[in-house]
């Protein structure tokens, strides 16, 4: 019954989405208020139905009901509860259901919290949102039903891909989807604006918090994925430029650009058509990402097996959504009134520079990801574009952007004083020079690029702090006054400073991890010792160990530093029976200046094992930086400007205080 209830809820949700996509939109055009009024209750109902379906699937997974095909294919009764739950979205059908659940969640959020939107805009946004829902619900109902039964019911399931049985990966897809799907709101707003023919500062003010929220989630999602790859794949890598990683990174780049260009629309009433295009582009890339992963178009660890029917459906949907919105853009965008011109040295000039670089970087990642497909489609030749291409193009492109990032927030709107900004950055520049010299001294003979990267990171962190220091008059006013100023500084200023500093911290981590890593690969017998970057690793041999649904070989290393025992590290190789597969669990010992990383590989006879030992300086800063970016997003999101009716309330408060004083 549970499976049938879930199935029925999905079908009902599709019907509701069809209604929500058509009637309210027609209602705003034909001026039939009763039809328009349907949008809000429909959005709430749609979410409730999909939540019910999702709950049903989760119950089926938790109770291991193997009469349901999807559960049988992807679960196993011996699996820990956490992975029974995460197994719900660890497969094609379930992840689609999660996708529409989040889509409906965002739709409902607009319906409930959008009461300060102009009614026609809200109605149109909800209708567009439902159109996207129709596509995905249709895919669920017709081609990817998670509730299909099998008869007779098998005794036990096939198990979840062991690589996915990991806490990091359990929460990676939901965050990623919150990001992907969150951009659908910006998209719906863009389409609604094109239909209405109006983009103004108010529109940008509504779009920004949604974009910011989606961006924050996506940042966390990507960071989780990268962290997982680091400790689970056993090679110490954290970004592989794999097509599926790129598929999540491209919307992030576009979303970052959108975040910044929307500021220009809000403050200067310019860049309107560009911002609308970016909103369409960002969500289109999210859809494309889903398409790439779900269609099996590009081979990857992430791709779950799928049939071509689904690929055709998703492609048709993609053409409808992206092609349709771009066609609408071609017709309607020229009607949007263009804003004024502006000087190159100004806040808006800096934001345009930011957009140009981000989009160029996006284009290079896009080309690198899609080139193999294009070439195959045209000539039939197969090639792989590997990390060398991306490293050679992406980093040099982003460097100037990062270098001027410290300037941006210091520049005034309209016409800024470059010399003034330079002057204010003198302490940041001095700190950078000191850091460069220090890094050069300590790593003499090492890679120069790492030193430069390190300097760049310090520059960005210090540059981001400059604005905070300036605004709080730190070191100039009394501590009390500074604190007071810090508390009353707009949260959006804090947010951008934190996020920018996060980029700097991330770069420090990348420079350390890429440039100053030491690694040693060897066969070690019990008792063997290896010296690595000042640490002594002694291998104590490996023993069998057992987990809930796997057998493992657990190797033990004692690590000494200056003759003293620092830590004991235990690395595992796990063998799962359902499905049969091996995973590595690296042993990671975090130190203040980075990680020690040890992997036990295949046995080499006589109790000896292949071992891989790494020291990765500063690598913890990679994820700290990413989290700082996300935290900056959250802080900025809490700015009262973004909250419902905040400006008016403030005015009332101010009036109240004025009255009291009088």
């Amino acid at each position: 019954m549970i499976a049938e209830t879930g199935h029925f809820a999905v079908i009902l949700a599709l019907v509701v989405a069809l209604l929500q996509a058509s009637l309210p939109l027609a209602g705003t055009a034909l001026r039939i208020p009763a039809w328009s009024a349907l949008a809000v209750p429909a959005a709430v109902l749609q979410f409730a139905l999909i939540l019910l379906a999702f709950g049903c699937l989760m119950v089926l997974y938790i109770t291991s009901d193997f009469s349901v095909m999807n559960v049988w294919q992807n679960s196993h009764s011996a699996k820990p509860l956490l992975y029974k739950i995460s197994g719900v979205w660890g497969n094609h059908e379930g992840s689609l259901l999660l996708w529409v659940l989040i889509l409906a969640l965002f739709g409902m959020a607009v319906a409930l919290f959008g009461s300060n939107l102009p009614p026609s805009l809200r109605t149109r946004v909800l209708s567009v949102q439902a159109m996207i829902g129709v596509g995905f619900l249709g895919l669920l109902v017709f081609l990817s039903n998670p509730f299909n039964r099998i008869f007779p019911a098998p005794v036990d399931g096939n198990g979840l891909n062991p690589l996915l049985q990991d806490p990091g990966l359990a929460f990676h897809p939901p965050f990623l989807y919150l990001g992907y799907v969150g951009f659908s709101i910006a998209f719906s707003f863009a389409i609604a604006a094109l239909i209405e023919g109006k983009v103004d500062a108010a529109w940008a003010r509504w779009v920004r918090p949604w974009t910011l929220a989606a961006w924050t989630f996506l940042t966390i999602g990507i960071a989780l994925g990268s962290w997982w790859a680091y400790y689970e794949l056993g090679w110490g890598g954290w970004w592989f430029w794999d097509p599926v990683e790129n598929a999540s990174f491209m919307p992030w780049l576009a979303g970052t650009a959108l975040l910044h260009s929307a500021i220009v629309v809000e403050k200067r009433d310019a860049l309107k058509t560009w911002t609308v295009l970016l909103a369409i582009l960002t969500f289109s890339l999210s859809l494309l990402g889903t398409f790439i992963v779900r269609s099996g178009l590009l081979n990857s660890v992430h791709a779950f097996a799928s049939d071509p029917g689904r690929g055709v459906f998703i492609l048709a949907f993609l053409i409808l959504v992206i092609g349709g919105s771009l066609a609408l853009y071609a017709v309607r965008a020229p009607a949007l009134r263009a804003g004024g011109l502006f000087a190159p040295i100004s806040r808006e000039g800096a934001l345009v520079f930011n957009n140009l670089i981000l989009i160029t970087a996006l284009a290079t990642v896009f080309l690198g990801t899609m080139y193999p497909l294009f070439l195959d489609a045209i000539t039939g030749a197969k090639v792989t574009v590997g990390p060398p291409y991306f490293n050679a193009t992406f980093a040099p492109l982003m460097t100037p952007l990062v270098a001027v990032m410290a300037f941006g927030p210091l520049l005034a709107w309209k016409r800024a004083d470059l010399m003034g900004a330079l002057h204010r950055l003198k302490f940041a520049a001095a700190a950078t020079v000191v850091a460069l010299l220090g890094a050069l001294y300590f790593t003499w003979g090492g890679p120069v690029l790492a030193v430069l990267g390190f300097g760049l990171g310090v520059w960005v962190v210090m540059g981001s702090l400059v604005e905070v220091v300036e605004r709080t008059r730190l070191f100039r006013a009394s501590a009390r006054d500074s604190l007071n100023r810090a508390i009353h500084m707009p949260r959006s200023v804090w947010g951008s400073a934190l996020a920018h500093a996060g980029v700097g911290v991330f770069i420090l981590g990348a420079a350390g991890a890429l440039g100053w890593e030491s690694e040693k690969l060897q066969v070690m017998k019990p008792g063997d010792q290896v010296e690595l970057a000042g640490y002594t690793f002694i291998f104590d041999g490996a023993r069998p160990a057992r987990g809930p649904n796997y057998d493992a070989t657990e190797g033990t290393f004692r690590v000494y530093r200056n003759g003293e025992l620092l830590t004991v590290m235990q690395a595992q190789t796990r063998r799962f029976a359902n499905p049969p597969m091996e995973t590595t669990e690296a042993a990671i010992h975090p130190t203040r200046m980075g990680d020690l990383f040890a992997v036990v590989g295949t046995p080499a006879g006589d109790g000896a094992y292949q071992t891989r030992l790494y020291r990765k300086p500063l690598i913890n800063l990679l994820w700290t930086g990413a989290l700082l970016m996300a935290f900056g997003g959250l802080v900025s999101l809490s700015d009262r400007r973004h909250r419902v009716g905040a400006p008016s309330r403030r005015r009332v408060e101010a009036a109240g205080t004025a009255a009291q004083r009088a």
Binding site: S284, L297, A330, M370, K382, P580, A604
Partner: protein, 182 residues
């Protein structure tokens, strides 16, 4: 209508066409960069419990051979195993086994349980030789001419259909093999 507003959709049309064509392609058709080239130099010890190891020299004995990459942890390998046994029994072709990243005792037990179709085996414990051979995933099967050049490569399970379509015509001389530089 101004060009700059039409450009995005024009670019998207190109992309959509490429995606559409891409869907009709099989991502498993990945030819090896090594086809027509000499097999990489290697010299591996045999799988535990066996005496004959595998080295480059074994591929230069003047007759065409199959090199099959297998592992005990690889489930699809079980699917193709009976076909390999048939080929070995019928003496259709010499089959050499490249055992990738396997535990020695597992590999031994596996061959004991399912039968050993391989004339010689190489235990590629660290997977290095497989990497040099450009192995994407297990199982893979290579056709090597008598001079040590790779003539054909099949990724994933070897079926009778694949054998008759891709391997046998070259082995019987009915289809011209790719140009080699051996």
């Amino acid at each position: 209508m101004k060009l700059k507003f039409v450009l995005p959709i024009a670019l998207f049309v190109v992309l959509a066409i490429a995606l559409g064509v891409g869907l009709t392609l099989n991502p498993r058709d990945i030819p090896s960069a090594l086809i027509g080239k000499p097999a990489p130099e290697f010299n591996l010890p045999p799988v535990q419990g066996r005496t004959a190891g595998l080295a480059t020299a074994d591929l230069k004995q003047g007759e065409m051979v199959l090199v099959n990459v297998f592992a005990s942890w690889c489930v699809p390998c079980r699917e193709e195993h009976p076909l390999l046994m048939d080929l070995a029994r019928a003496r259709t072709v010499k089959i050499y086994g490249l055992n990738q990243r396997d535990r020695p005792e597992d590999a031994e037990r596996w061959l004991a349980a399912f039968g050993d179709p391989y004339l010689k085996t190489g235990a590629d414990l660290d997977g290095r030789t497989s990497i040099e051979w450009g192995v994407y995933g297990v199982p893979e099967t290579f056709l090597v001419d008598g001079k040590g050049c790779i003539l054909f490569k099949h990724i994933s399970v070897l079926t009778r259909q694949v054998l008759e379509r891709d391997f046998l015509p070259i082995m019987r001389g009915e289809r011209a093999p790719p140009k080699t530089n051996c």
